[in-house]
Each structure stands twice: as C-alpha cells, then as structure tokens.
C-alpha cells in the first residue's frame, strides 16, 4: 500500500504542479466572467447610425401613423440620460415616402431595390391597398419589407408592432368598437411560478416565494458541468501519462518494484486527488461567489457530499478506461482513435440534460440517470432540481456505478498488465477485450 501511495503522490504532483493544470483551473471562471463582461460591454455598443427607410403606403392611412410612432420612439428609447449625459444609444428610423416613377408593383420594387443598392436608403416597405381590410385572404394583409441586410430584424419587428397596433385600432373603429374597451377585454392573465408554503416556528403559514427560475436552472447545470470538467481535466491526462511510462520504458523500472495493478491503482488514486483538488477550488469559489451576490440560500450544500461520491466514482471509472487505452496503444495517434468513442460516452449526458432538468422525475430521466457511465452527471443534475429525487434512486445509482467502476478497474487492470510492456503495434479494441476477459 505504501508503494501505491508513492505512485499516487508522484502522479498528483506531476498533474497539479504543471502550468496546464493551473491554466485550466483559471480558464473556466475567466471564460465565464469574460463572456459576461463582454456582453455587458457590448450592450451599449450597438451601431447607432440612423436608418433611412422608404415606405410606400397604398392604403393611404398608415404612413402618417408610422412617422408619428418613429418620432415618439426618438423621444423615448433612442436617447438615454438627461442634459449633458444625454446620448444616443440606438439608431433613429428616418421614415420617408418612397419616391417612385411608376404604378407597376414590380417596377416599384425594382426601383426601390436600386435605391437600397446605391445606399440612398437602408430598406423599404410596401403596404398593399388591402392591408387593413384584407377580407379572407391573409396574403393581402401582408406588408413587404425589403432590405439587403436580412439578419437585421430590429426595424422589421418594430414596424410589425406599429402596423399591427394601428390596423387593429382602425378595424375596431370600422365596426364602432372603442379600442380602450378591447384593450380591457383582452388584457392577458399571468401565471406565476411559486414554491410551496409551510409553517414557520410560530405556526404561521409562510408566504410562498416566487421561485427563482434562473437559480433552479443554473445550479443543476453548474453541478453537472463541474462534474464534466473534473472528469475531463483530471481523468483524461491519465492516458498520456500511462503512454509516457510505456514509451519511455519507465513502466519496466516501476514494475521491478510493484505489480501492474498496484501501479494502476496508484495512478488512479493520484488523479482522484487531482479531481478533489479541482472540485474543492470550484465549489469553494462558487459558494463564495453565490454568497457574496446574496443568493446564498441557493447554494446546494446538501448535495456537496453526493457530488464528491459521484465525482470519485466517475474519475475512477473513466480514469481506468483511459489508463487501459494508454497501456494498450503505442502512440498518440492510436490513442486518439480509441479515445473518440470514450469521449462520446463522457459527453452523452450533455445531449439529454435539458430534458432531464425539465422533467427530473419522468421515467426516461430516471432510466437515463441509472445508466452507470452517465449516472454521476445525470443523477447529480436530477438531485439539484427541486424538489430532488427519491433517495432509493440515488442509492441505486451509486450501487450501479460502484459495480461498474469495479468491473472497469478490474478489466482495465488486465489490459494494463498486458499492454504496458508490449512494444510495437498497439492493440485494437478486439484484442483489448480479449485481454480483459482472459486476463
């Protein structure tokens, strides 16, 4: 056992003392913080160049209303701040009558398109004569908006809102209905997302708190992503480290002092240490960050121990597979080929996590979270979504994962024993399976 620990300590130091580890530890918060900061900065850094838009209104009743709405928009949202602070934060929409020399719809469209191409105007909209009273044909109610920048939809959305509001009003007026009455009649009803109420110490019924959708969503996601990161950063380098020992003939020297199984167990213990170091740094960091921002009550303290158990299992499970691959192959290229299917298994929970978060108690979520390679990530995800899951499911998951981990470590140990001393061509999957079964 002493020797296993000697190996583990070396493995741990070799992993943790590298620049790559420190960088990867820092990378995630920097990336996340950075992307939030960039988004915050970019919010006010939009293009504020005014947009000249030509409008051809064949109804004759909408043009003035659109101009009026654009002027009102200038007053309300285009400029922000007061006095000297006042500055333009959005582009103005400069509405103008389309100047055309024809009555033919196709000809008009062409002329206006040319104007867009010549940068005389930014875009143009054509309202057919029947937009307000289209009868039964929805196509006649359609407004044609043409531009050379199809991805810029801000104006299109604004115009749609303005036209709809005014056509509705005009249609109500046509049948003598007061628009205010209609507004009253179609006022929307809100459905609030609330938690459960309970009794406080004095026996009074507490007030239901409005649930925090973001917290309910982000915490489980964060837990799962952390699990994923830890497996990736701690377990996958094991393959390279085993490959180095094999290629540099270090394994031969080591095997003069310890058995192959001891060597592998030592290395696995080492990376479990690495993963616990990582998880501690992140969990403490996350706790501090959440606490400081006043969301302390959302930190899932009750899940930390479950997280550690699942994480250790995941690292052992995937670590043993990576170690076996490292021992079986003879160069990085062969290793990458064998890595791909394993990585797909590691990533698989990422494809289903959204469904699992929305319905953590559904049968499919339960079944998926009980498939051992996915259990560590999906089970912690389900546990983190209120109100949690029945304890028997968690325990069953742990039992299955432990059983699978034992099988994996055992099989990997056999592959490791044969592969680590084999030089020349690496093994293929079939050979690896044969070694694992026959020993």
């Amino acid at each position: 056992m002493r020797k296993v620990i000697v190996i583990a300590v070396r493995e741990y130091q070799a992993a943790v003392k590298t620049k790559a580890f420190i960088i990867s530890i820092l990378a995630m918060p920097v990336f996340m913080g950075g992307s939030i900061a960039v988004q915050a900065l970019m919010r006010d850094k939009v293009d504020t160049t005014d947009k000249r838009i030509a409008v051809l209104d064949q109804t004759g009743r909408l043009y003035d209303l659109i101009v009026e709405a654009s002027l009102k928009r200038d007053q309300t949202i285009v400029f922000k701040g007061e006095g000297a602070e006042r500055k333009k934060v959005k582009p103005r929409y400069l509405i103008e009558k389309a100047s055309v020399s024809s009555d033919d719809r196709e000809r008009i469209t062409f002329e206006l398109s040319e104007q867009v191409r010549n940068a005389e105007i930014f875009a143009f909209a054509i309202m057919g004569p029947d937009v307000i009273e289209p009868g039964d044909d929805p196509l006649r109610a359609r407004v044609a908006y043409h531009s050379n920048t199809p991805t810029y939809d801000n104006f299109q959305n604004w115009l749609e809102r303005v036209i709809n509001r005014h056509t509705h009003e005009l249609r109500f007026q046509a049948v003598n209905v007061e628009p205010a009455v209609v507004a009253q009649a179609i006022r929307p009803v809100q459905v609030a997302n609330l938690g459960l109420v309970s009794l406080d110490e004095e026996g009074r019924i507490t007030k239901a708190e409005e649930t925090n959708r973001i917290a309910n969503f982000l915490i489980p996601m964060g837990m799962m992503m952390l699990m994923f990161m830890v497996v990736l950063v701690a377990a996958s380098p094991l393959m390279q480290s085993v490959l180095e020992e094999k290629m540099q003939r270090i394994a031969e020297v080591l095997l003069g002092s310890i058995t192959p199984f001891q060597l592998m167990m030592g290395k696995l213990l080492g990376i479990v240490g690495v993963s616990l170091t990582m998880a501690t740094i992140y969990l403490v960091g996350a706790f501090y960050a959440i606490h400081e921002t006043g969301f302390g009550q959302f930190f899932p303290k009750h899940l930390v121990w479950w997280f550690v158990v699942f994480q250790v299992m995941a690292v052992l499970l995937y670590g043993s597979v990576f170690a076996a691959i490292g021992a079986a192959v003879s160069d990085m290229k062969e290793a990458q080929n064998l890595m791909t299917p394993v990585m797909l298994v590691v990533i698989a929970p990422m494809f289903v996590w959204l469904n699992v978060v929305k319905e953590p108690l559904s049968t499919s979520s339960m079944v998926m979270s009980l498939i051992p390679p996915a259990t560590p990530m999906l089970m912690i995800l389900r546990q983190a979504v209120p109100p949690g899951i029945p304890i028997w499911q968690t325990l069953l998951g742990i039992v299955l994962v432990i059983a699978t981990t034992i099988v994996c470590v055992f099989a990997a140990g056999r592959i490791f024993r044969v592969g680590i001393l084999m030089q020349g061509k690496g093994a293929n999957l079939g050979e690896m399976i044969r070694w694992a079964i026959r020993g």
Binding site: R2, K3, V6, I7, R10, A14, T18, E244, E245, Q248, R249, I250, E252, V253, L254, L255, G256, S257, I258, T259, P260, Q262, L421
Partner: protein, 321 residues
C-alpha cells in the same frame, strides 16, 4: 555448485512471442557476488532474458524455472533488485533529485537524502540535481538512470547496456561504480556490445544467439575452448598480405595490428618465416582468440557457413569467483 550461492538460477526456460521464439531452452546460473556479462547480437534475446529475471515477463509454461534470490514465486516487484532498462526509463518532466527520491521511496527506502546526494556527487551530477530530466544530455540521463537502479543498494543489479552512449570519462565513472557495487557484495548482471568491457570486467560471460545459449563461463574457460589459434601480428612492408599465407584461415584487420586465425596443426614458426619474407615483423604474439573474435565467429556472416558456430560451448566447470 551449491544452489544457495547462486543469486539467479535459470533452468531450461523458453519465451515465445506469438510465433517468434525469443528465448529457447535457456539455462544459466549467476554466482553471488559476481559480475556477469550478457553478450549477443541485437535481437538475440538478451533483453528478454533480463526481463524474465526481473519477472517483467513470464517464461512460457513448461518444465523450466527461474529462481531469483532464492525465490521462485512469479510476481514482479522485488525491492532487493535494481534494474536499468535499455535507454530511457525516466520521467522527462521531473527534476533529477525528485526522480531519484521517487525511485528510492518506491523501493521502500526512507533514509535516502544523504544517499542521493552522495551518488549525485560521485557521478558529477550535483549541479543538475534541480534540473529537469529533459534538459540532460544522453550521457547524464544514463548516469541518473544508473543511480536510480542502485539507489536502494540492491543485492542484485541488472543493467541493460549501461555503457552505451557514454564517453570514456563517464564510462570510467560508471565502471568504477559497478566494481564498487560488487565490493559491497552486490551481484551485477549487465548486457553489453562492448567486448573489451566484457573481457575486462566480467567474472562470467554469457552469450546468447538466436535465443540459445552459445557461451557460458569465465573468459579463460571460453578462450581455452577455442585454443591458441590466433596470432596477433604487426608487419611493415609493401608485400604484406597475410591471407595469402597457407594455414591462415581468417584475417581481422585492426589497422596497425592484424589478428590471424590459423588452421589446426599449422606450424607457427613457418608462419613467422612466411611473414618475415613479406615484410618487417614488428610484433608477433601467439594468443587466445579475443572475445570480439569469438563473438564474430559465432554471430558473424561466416557463422552461417559454419554450422558448428551454433554449438553450445559451455565451460563445464567455471572457475570459482
């Protein structure tokens, strides 16, 4: 010979990789406290045999057995054995001092601080104790590896080509260290391609060729088997062409000196007369064949013609160490 004095006892073992027979029905015994040299061409089975002694490889199942340090149990891991593999064997990113500490700990040593320092000083490596292995030259890395093999003062040291790639100064340092190990009571087995090293250092020489033992014994006993069939000469003169002289079977030219192998029954006085007729004889010495010559006779191109080269030439009673 009494079994208890043998550190390694191998009885007719074989090792087959897929269809390739690497080691074929091999037996040998290494007496305690001796320096035992393995020679043989590349790919002849030296490393495989050493690995079997290390219990890294298991021999094919069959009648044979390997007994190392009196034990027959087949499990790798023995703190009483030190091993230096052929080239490499070090973590590139580790510091020299750390890696030596690691290997010492792995062998169960706890009081290694002073030992590591002493060895580094002895091998002229004190200045690079805190350098990473990847910054070392090949010779320096070789010395570090050697220290790693002997740091735990093993009873048996197995060195796979320890002198390859060393300059003469470093080779001397290492040779001195190996002799020192023996003085302290360790048994040393090493493989080498350098015949002069084997001749000068080894108490016993063991040659393996195509997986089979072809030589085993002291240098004298091996040379004795071949008899005094070699003449070492140095002749000056334009007409000098020794291979034209009758009775000369083979000429090995070392430049200033030639080794002539003579047919059995050739009169050496006649040979000397013939040489004197060809030029000015500066040196004429009747000798046993050198180990180099014996090696070439067994494994060289002419060995194919000479089937007798594969015959096992074991000294029946090797002289006691």
């Amino acid at each position: 010979m009494n079994n208890t004095t043998n550190v390694v006892e191998i009885q007719s073992i074989s090792k087959t990789f897929r269809k390739h027979v690497a080691v074929d029905d091999l037996s040998l015994s290494v007496p305690k406290g001796s320096i035992y040299g393995f020679i043989g061409p590349n790919g002849s089975g030296k490393t495989t045999t050493l690995r079997m002694i290390m219990r890294i490889y298991h021999p094919d199942s069959g009648g044979g057995h390997i007994r190392v340090l009196g034990k027959e149990s087949f499990q790798a891991a023995n703190d009483r054995i030190g091993y230096l593999p052929e080239e490499r064997g070090l973590y590139k990113k580790m510091k020299v001092r750390d890696i030596l500490r690691f290997y010492a700990e792995l062998k169960g040593r706890r009081d290694f601080k002073e030992t590591v320092g002493n060895w580094l000083q002895r091998m002229n490596l004190s200045d690079c104790a805190n350098n990473k292995v990847e910054t070392l030259s090949k010779g320096m890395a070789q010395k570090v590896q050697f220290i790693a093999a002997v740091i735990a003062e093993p009873e048996l040291v197995i060195l796979d080509e320890p002198f390859t790639g060393l300059d003469p100064v470093n080779a001397d340092v290492l040779r001195e260290a190996v002799l020192d190990l023996r003085r302290r009571g360790s048994t040393v087995i090493f493989s080498t391609h350098d015949m002069s090293v084997a001749e000068k250092m080894c108490d016993f020489i063991f040659m393996i060729f195509k997986g089979r033992k072809v030589l085993d014994g002291t240098l004298e006993s091996i040379q004795h088997k071949y008899g005094e069939d070699t003449v070492r000469v140095s002749v000056e003169g334009n007409g000098y062409s020794p291979h034209t002289i009758s009775g000369v079977e083979r000429v090995t030219d070392f430049g200033h000196v030639q080794e002539l192998r003579i047919a059995p029954g050739t009169d050496t006085q006649d040979l000397l007369g013939a040489l004197m007729r060809q030029g000015n004889v500066m040196h004429f010495e009747l000798a046993h064949p050198s180990l180099h010559d014996i090696f070439v006779r067994i494994a060289g191109p002419e060995a194919d013609k000479d089937a007798a080269g594969l015959e096992t030439l074991t000294a029946e009673e090797p002289a006691d160490a």
